[in-house]
Symmetry: C2
């Protein structure tokens, strides 16, 4: 076993450290973040920082990094108050990855990377046509993190666009059926396989699988 300590971590070569630290936490939620400017220019970027914050009200958090040219994204979200999160599928994950390239301001990654825009009523921000799970959010809170200059955005889930077949009996999304991918680190993409669903844990009761088929 090795123990990599603080003083060694800060001496690691920059790219190596970035890959190591980015991948430490495990598999991350993978989504395409869709926005539109007040001038009607759409923007799309791949993110792996979305996290569940609460079910009532239904809230998700995302991290926006200043150095990664998400400035259009942040500007769009702040000015329109809306954004979408869309899952990524194996058939077109390379196109999704390509949205992380530093395109000039004014270029829409939807068009350049071949991803279809999907609009719904009462919602300005574009969804991704090819996705199977799509979430429309309204901005609720902006938290500036002084320690590293990132911004945490908290959004409320306003719309969920999917197919009935993707939702199991108890409400849980079937991400295997939805073909949702996950990512580790900066560039390693994965497709998970089910191991089991476990019953609600109680003291004194042995952990066991749920009897549902999924």
């Amino acid at each position: 076993m090795i123990n990599i300590k603080s003083e060694q971590i800060c001496k690691l070569e920059k790219q190596y450290r970035r890959s190591l630290i980015n991948s430490l936490v495990g598999y991350k939620s993978l989504n395409l973040l869709g926005t539109i400017s007040n001038e009607g220019i759409t923007n799309l970027c791949i993110i792996s920082s979305a996290f569940h914050l609460g079910a009532d009200p239904p809230l998700l958090g995302i991290v926006i990094r200043p150095e990664r040219a998400h400035n259009d994204t942040l500007t769009n979200i702040k000015s329109t108050g809306q954004y979408t999160l869309n899952n990524v599928l194996p058939e077109w994950y390379m196109q999704a990855h390509q949205t992380s390239a530093s395109y000039s301001s004014g270029v829409s990654e939807f068009d350049t990377c071949g991803l279809k825009k999907l609009y719904t009523d009462r919602f300005k921000a574009p969804f991704v046509g090819q996705s199977t799970i799509r979430i429309g959010l309204e901005l609720r809170e902006v938290i500036d993190i002084d320690i590293n200059g990132t911004t945490i955005l908290i959004g409320e889930i306003i719309q969920i666009l999917t197919d009935d077949a993707m939702i199991t009996e108890d409400g849980t999304i079937d991400h295997v059926k939805a073909q949702t991918m996950t990512v580790a680190g900066l560039d390693a993409y994965f497709l998970p396989q089910s191991v089991g669903r476990l019953a609600y844990a109680k003291p004194g009761i042995e952990p066991h699988e749920l009897s549902t088929s999924y």
Copy 2:
């Protein structure tokens, strides 16, 4: 395609909504969170809210929910300033899930759920012996989220305990080799399979796989 809107979401039956909203974001990072009180009582709970916040300084965020009896955890982290995150493996994921049961204060989930404590020098909080990727963190920031009463904790990575074999040439952790699991929603556990690693994206260059073996 269905469009579940705000007014429908808030009318959903409570458990159904909880399962739906928790699973929307996709696969989540799965970790056991280890702490110790000033009196030396250890605590362990399974979490799926850890997120990467930045590599320099190396930072992770976690969400602590007030209603889920993580109070010992939060008290411990605030009083000692330290905590650990440890990955979960298929061989003992049911024991990891069991740490979510509401045990009385003073009962250590390490002992009750059969998980081994591992200590290192210069670090009070216990790691999980059976894990293959273990992260020691020091608390840097506490953010109270007024909108739903949760707390976001930001911690700096101080120690990384793993085996050399788990780290690939460029620094990325090999989570397949590490047998790291992931979770969707509250109770659906998965083991991912690699689809591909993609090269750094640049405008005008077609997306393509890295030539590395992992």
